[in-house]
């Protein structure tokens, strides 16, 4: 370390273990850093080095509490082209094309400053997609907030939705789907997860591994400023507290126009074959990007901070290295191509600068005008952060308070009152006020827009189509982390089945509380176990994802929220399924297993019921068989509509089909229906179902059931492959549900206008 002393830095100027702890490292980690830095004797890192270690060894970058769990997930499959570890995963979609996709969170920035937090969340996930050479073709978002009765919830919702729209709309990538839930445990720690999809020809994919000592490192895009300093460690790897607002300077500011130019420039650089590898700058900025490129390539990098174009003078070297200024990319270029790269940057009016070079030293060296400021083994920075075993323990006491009852209904209320209450509730009412703020059609690919089908459908060049869905019901995961997560994966697959798509791959964002607490560790490990089992069963491997931990506010942890994004393919875009009833006279049937139960349902929440300890076991084989049958029927063009029965149960699904199609339904629930709902009514039955039992049948929830409509003959054909129960007929402008047979009686009658008025409940939040 002769060069080290040449900096004139003496021992008393070096940061101490206390400084390391202030930056988020533990004392033991600090000792390990010293060891890694100096061999046997050890050497304390200087300020710049410590800043870089603290970021790369943060939870956000090192996944130190989750990596061991993530290794248990299935990541291989016949369609997988690129698995976890790259900027995004990719699956083969045929005709020489691949679909790249990934979901990522921007939770804490959004909790602090929702507009910019959400906007830069979209910007970040888009960069991940074009960093592997794919043109972004769609964005979806998954949002969680507290109850909308709280003013701050409305502020966060409005800001996040505006921010997502601002970025996606301005860059010309359609926002084609998403989901939002409102639950009290998210009040102090909202979730903003964004998923993006991209399309690339298979041979155009690029990896991020730096290669070729002597090659040049080019930073291009926006200049580097003081924004977002310490985002990864300050915001992403610690619990939020009352001083959130003070962290606003740690939130980056997005510039979608800059990103649009950066995206076009990156894709043209790849098209022309001018670069060896490409990496976006996200959390921990240059520190993370350069180190990871070096690590993946097994090389070293010399990087000169004096050559980085700066937004303001006087920035310290560590600030340059950790800045999270947005809209920047890093690439490795062969020396003879540098001039052409610069020319292309000029064409797209993005800055470009050669800031370093690839070496064979295996070391990350930071210089300023040639003077050595920091020198670290790449392997120590990227690979040597200690990984921790979780200490999971199932909590003996409930973690979450019972929801506060918000609806003026009881289990015994008449079904129409209950249906209207659920339809108008924040979790169920129409998302139109949100998705109307997003451009869902740019790029001329969107075959199914929001509320037209259970999944978004995007046309592919060869006549087929991609389908994509994102889902994750945190309340059910809180009730049962294993089964709840299996259900979330199944829900995505069911959505794909409804449009006729077969799953190809899965991405996930694990949003959890503080994993150092045993009950959170238990939620996390059970959830990952469920995720792995479900993805294996579906043959929809995990190709990428993200982990967001420490999501806790003053009142406790969020609901454990694994957000699942799933991409599938259907052979014929023209036959993509729809959710709305389409033709008067069509028969309506319930397909697949149906075992509704109220605990952890939307109705249970509205009634203020506490979460149950565990969800009912599910019959995975029966559910997958139902998916297969519905998918095949949609592909064969047999069905007019297909919709999976999810939150709010059968009655809500019926109402949604009516509203989406503008047609009513005449539903008769006969003996066969009640007999098929053993969870509600013991069989044999001699009297009418009690009101509470009717409620459970109409509004109870469980995975596996589909509501389909079509000609009688088509439904008979479907009945060969899956248990099917006739429910009634499409027609008129009213939803009638009657009890047929000996105990005949009207259970529910509501006009489409009444249903629509209730379903528009969310609109007032945006008035």
């Amino acid at each position: 370390m002769a060069e080290q002393s040449s900096q004139g830095e003496t021992a008393h100027e070096l940061p101490t273990v206390e400084d390391a702890i202030a930056l988020g490292l533990t004392a033991a980690e600090y000792r390990l850093v010293c060891e890694k830095q100096g061999g046997a004797g050890g050497r304390a890192p200087n300020q710049l080095e410590l800043a870089m270690y603290s970021l790369l060894w943060s939870e956000h970058c090192a996944y130190k509490h989750s990596k061991k769990l993530l290794r248990t997930l299935p990541t291989d499959g016949e369609h997988v082209v690129m698995g976890p570890g790259e900027n995004a995963g990719a699956v083969d979609v045929g005709d020489g094309l691949v679909c790249a996709f990934k979901v990522e969170s921007h939770n804490h920035p959004s909790a602090v400053e929702p507009f910019q937090g959400a906007a830069t969340g979209v910007g970040g996930i888009l960069r991940d997609i074009f960093a592997i050479g794919a043109r972004p073709i769609a964005v979806l978002d998954s949002l969680r907030f507290g109850e909308p009765a709280v003013a701050r919830t409305r502020y966060l919702l409005d800001g996040a939705v505006s921010g997502i729209g601002h970025y996606g709309n301005s860059i010309g990538v359609p926002t084609v789907g998403g989901e939002v839930y409102f639950e009290a445990p998210y009040e102090h720690n909202c979730l903003v997860n964004a998923m993006a999809l991209g399309l690339a020809s298979r041979e155009r994919l690029v990896r991020s591994a730096a290669a070729g000592p002597g090659n040049v490192l080019v930073l291009f895009g926006a200049s580097t400023g003081r924004d977002g300093i310490g985002g990864a460690s300050v915001l992403a790897s610690a619990e939020l507290d009352a001083a959130d607002a003070d962290k606003r300077p740690s939130v980056q500011v997005g510039d979608p126009f800059e990103e649009k130019k950066l995206m076009e420039c990156s894709l043209e650089l790849l098209e022309r074959g001018l670069i060896v590898s490409l990496q976006d700058l996200g959390a921990a900025g240059l520190t993370s990007s350069a180190s990871e490129m070096a690590s993946k390539g097994g090389v070293g990098i010399d990087l000169d901070v004096a050559r980085v174009p700066l937004r303001e003078p006087g920035m310290e070297p560590f600030e340059v290295m950790v800045s999270e200024s947005q809209e920047r990319m890093l690439c490795v270029v062969e020396p003879e191509n540098v001039e052409q790269v610069m020319r292309l940057c000029a064409k797209w009016e993005v800055g470009g600068a050669a800031i370093g070079e690839v070496t064979d030293s295996g070391r990350m060296r930071v210089l300023r005008d040639g003077e050595l400021l920091g020198d670290m083994p790449v392997s120590a920075l990227v690979d040597d952060c200690p990984l921790y075993d979780l200490q999971p323990r199932k909590p003996s006491e409930p973690v979450y308070a019972a929801p506060i009852a918000t609806a003026r209904i009881t289990l015994e209320s008449p079904p129409p009152e209950i249906l209207l209450a659920i339809l108008s509730s924040p979790n169920i009412s129409s998302r139109r006020p949100l998705f109307e703020q997003y451009d869902s059609i740019v790029q001329s690919r969107t075959v199914r827009r929001p509320e037209q089908a259970d999944a978004a459908v995007l046309a592919l060049p060869g006549g087929g189509a991609l389908a994509v869905s994102i889902d994750g019901n945190g309340r059910r995961v809180a009730a049962d982390p294993y089964t709840g997560t299996v259900e979330a994966v199944l829900e995505c697959a069911a959505n794909l089945a409804c449009v006729g798509a077969q799953p190809l791959g899965t991405t996930n964002n694990l949003n959890f509380g503080n994993p150092e607490k045993p009950h959170i560790a238990w939620q996390l490990s059970e959830s990952v176990r469920g995720l792995g089992d479900a993805c294996r069963a579906l043959d929809a491997p995990i190709v990428g994802g993200n982990v967001s931990l420490y999501n806790e506010g003053a009142t406790g942890p969020i609901y454990p929220t694994p957000v699942i994004g799933m991409v599938g393919r259907l052979p014929d875009a023209r036959r993509a399924g729809r959710l709305g009833f389409a033709r008067a006279g069509d028969e309506i049937a319930l397909a697949g297993p149906f075992a509704p139960s109220l605990p952890a349902s939307e109705l249970a929440k509205l009634l203020g019921q506490p979460l149950p300890d565990g969800l009912a076991l599910i019959d995975l084989a029966a559910i997958l068989a139902a998916h297969d049958a519905v998918r095949a029927a949609v592909r064969a063009g047999l069905l007019s509509s297909a919709h999976d029965i999810a939150e709010g149960g059968l009655a809500v699904a019926l109402a949604e089909c009516c509203l989406a199609g503008g047609l009513g339904a005449q539903v008769e629930l006969g003996e066969d229906f009640w007999e098929a709902v053993p969870s509600v009514v013991p069989s044999p039955r001699s009297t009418s179902p009690a009101p509470g039992q009717v409620t459970a049948a109409l509004f109870g929830e469980a995975p596996g059931g589909f509501l389909v409509s079509g000609r009688a003959q088509a439904l008979q054909q479907l009945a060969q492959d899956v248990p099917l129960m006739a429910l009634g007929r499409v027609g008129e402008d009213v939803l009638n549900i009657v009890e047929a047979g000996a105990t005949a009686g009207m259970m529910l009658t509501l006009t489409l206008d009444e249903l629509a008025a209730a379903h528009a409940g969310l609109a007032e939040l945006f008035a």
């Binding site: 709309n169 010309g172 800059e258 649009k260 130019k261 703020q437 001329s444 690919r445």
Partner: protein, 225 residues
């Protein structure tokens, strides 16, 4: 015939407009820094955010080299269609009267709208048929058409209002429900909704927008014949 579709660095619907135009004729992109219009017979100024539009939509784009040529082209009677941001650019360039203000709801709003073709006899609507009602998506933040009362009345009298939002569809608060206008000479036309996103039943749920491109083709080829 050949359409030239301008491409600014922040254009978003440029490729969509190119593909829509290519359904009825040849079509080529024209880079914003290019003064050469490549012999195009008609120009499309597409939607998007030309140069980011942080200042005011279209305020910078009107000074671009390509737009200078488009202004000359329009002066010589060439057909120019501006869609969404393109409409904003044409207003900024004073090729069209009026201005587009922020939507009445102050939000970016995206929805399918029905449009009444109030003038089916123009170079841009002649293929629409009389009493036509088009289903076309609109998506913008700044689409509220505005001009002073005297100008609006003069435009009405001169037949310059070509498209109006059908009853109940004027979500942005445009004066007199105006969705699309032409200049006095009739060779420059701007509209906020996106005809290029309604050219394929599979994707747009409507192919009504194709009539706008088809009209331009008929006009150009009629002029040649």
């Amino acid at each position: 015939m050949k359409f030239g579709v301008l491409q600014f660095p922040g254009s978003c619907d440029d490729l969509d407009a190119l593909a829509a135009a290519a359904r009825v004729g040849d079509a080529e992109l024209i880079w914003h820094a290019d003064r050469d219009l490549h012999g195009a017979d008609a120009i499309v100024v597409p939607g998007g955010f030309s140069y980011g539009d942080y200042l005011r939509a279209g305020a910078i784009a009107r000074f671009s080299p390509a737009m200078e040529s488009v202004i000359e082209f329009a002066g010589a009677g060439g057909l120019v269609l501006g869609i969404c941001n393109g409409f904003q650019v044409l207003c900024e360039a004073h090729l069209l009267p009026g201005a587009l203000l922020v939507n009445a709801n102050l939000r970016f709003t995206s929805k399918q709208v029905r449009l009444e073709v109030s003038r089916p006899d123009t170079a841009f609507t002649r293929a629409c048929g009389s009493d036509a009602c088009l289903s076309i998506p609109a998506k913008h933040s700044w689409g509220r058409y505005h001009a002073d009362d005297a100008t609006l009345t003069a435009m009405d009298e001169a037949g310059q209002v070509v498209l109006r939002y059908a009853p109940g569809e004027n979500f942005n608060g445009s004066l007199r429900d105006i969705a699309g206008v032409r200049n006095e000479r009739g060779n420059v036309f701007g509209m906020m909704p996106h005809p290029e996103h309604a050219v394929d039943e599979l994707i747009g749920g409507s192919s009504d927008g194709l009539a706008i491109f088809e009209s331009i083709r008929l006009s150009v080829e009629g002029a040649i014949v």
